[in-house]
């Protein structure tokens, strides 16, 4: 079972995280990834259009950031530095694909600095969601991943795991109940 780490969200704490990551602390880098992933993914998706391309870009940007982290001035905030890196990599990819893009500045609109309240809500929901996900059994997690992420049908999952389709749907029902509860604040906000 994974235990999601609660990381504080202030700038001072982020500076401390960057310092720890620069000294080679893997947990600190993981926390930075956790904090900036949603915004980075949204930004990359806006820039590149395709979800899978956006995921590859975000991964590359984080790994590049890891390589260049020793060059980051400890007093400088991680977010803007990382988003610049992400944007430059994305623009390079677009150039390589010879696809014309028109709105690189829209990246600023999804950075955590531009929308602190939304970022905070997302972070809180994310933490709750991670806790709910960690509470699932490995089988339930696998089933919900195959169904919601990979797009498999219940019968396909049942065949793959050697279960009955009804059993798979029951596991799915149980798993989604917990995960949906974690997402409730986000849904309430959307309904309002």
């Amino acid at each position: 079972m994974r235990e999601p780490t609660r990381e504080p969200a202030s700038d001072a704490d982020e500076t401390a995280l960057v310092g720890r990551a620069q000294r080679g602390d893997p947990a600190a880098f993981d926390a930075l990834v956790r904090r900036h992933l949603p915004g980075a993914l949204a930004a990359a998706e806006r820039l590149l259009g395709e979800r899978s391309d956006a995921e590859d870009l975000v991964q590359e940007a984080f790994l590049r950031a890891l390589d260049r982290l020793p060059l980051l001035d400890p007093g400088r905030p991680f977010g803007p530095w990382f988003y610049t890196l992400l944007r430059n990599l994305g623009i390079n990819q677009l150039r390589a694909r010879k696809v014309r893009h028109t709105e690189p500045e829209t990246l600023d609109a999804v950075s955590p600095d531009a929308l602190p309240d939304e970022a905070l809500v997302r972070t809180e929901v994310r933490e709750r969601f991670d806790a709910a996900l960690a509470a699932l059994t490995p089988r339930q997690r696998e089933i919900v991943m195959l169904f919601e992420v990979e797009g498999w049908k219940g019968a396909e999952i049942a065949k793959h795991l050697g279960l009955t389709p009804e059993n798979v749907r029951w596991h799915l029902h149980q798993a989604k109940k917990g995960l949906r509860a974690a997402l409730a604040p986000l849904r309430d906000e959307g309904d309002a």
Binding site: G24, P26, F29, D30, V33, R34, L37, P38, L41, R51, E55, V58, Q59, F62, L63, L66, D67, R126, F129, D130, L133, A135, L136, T137, Q140, V144, M145, F147, E148, V149, G151, K153, G154, T164, P165, E166, N167, R169, W170, L172, H173, Q174, A175, K176, K177, G178, L179, R180, L183, L186, R187
Partner: protein, 128 residues
């Protein structure tokens, strides 16, 4: 997550539930985060544990031009040395001839094996 007992006759188990886009997006995000974290750890390990052949593989292409440049520099230096040796020998021969012509045994000895004091260094420095 086992607060309900499994009953295969339950109506909701007869067909797949609807997919949940918000849930799917968060799960994809979670999977991507794990991918990044694993890749970052691998990269850190690679950085720490790179064997000699790893460095060769990484910098092999740069090593060839660097080697060629080093060879060229070495060739230039080695080409200069014989000429410097020849110049030194010619100077020594001239000094010896001068010493013999002067008729002084001390001068001849000094030209052959060097003087017995360090004054010649000062004299040479002043002369030059």
């Amino acid at each position: 997550m086992t607060d309900e007992l499994f009953d295969p006759t339950d109506e909701f188990l007869a067909k797949d539930p609807d997919r949940d886009p918000a849930l799917g997006a968060l799960l994809r995000e979670d999977r991507l985060r794990e991918r990044i974290v694993v890749a970052a750890r691998r990269r850190r390990l690679r950085r720490v544990d790179t064997p000699w052949y790893g460095w060769v593989a990484r910098y092999g292409r740069a090593a060839v031009p660097i080697g060629i440049a080093a060879a060229l520099i070495a060739a230039v230096i080695l080409n200069r040395s014989p000429r410097a040796d020849a110049e030194f020998a010619a100077q020594a021969a001239t000094d010896l001839q001068g010493a013999v012509a002067s008729g002084s045994r001390t001068d001849v000895t000094d030209a052959l094996v060097g003087p017995d004091s360090t004054e010649f260094l000062i004299a040479m420095a002043v002369d030059r």
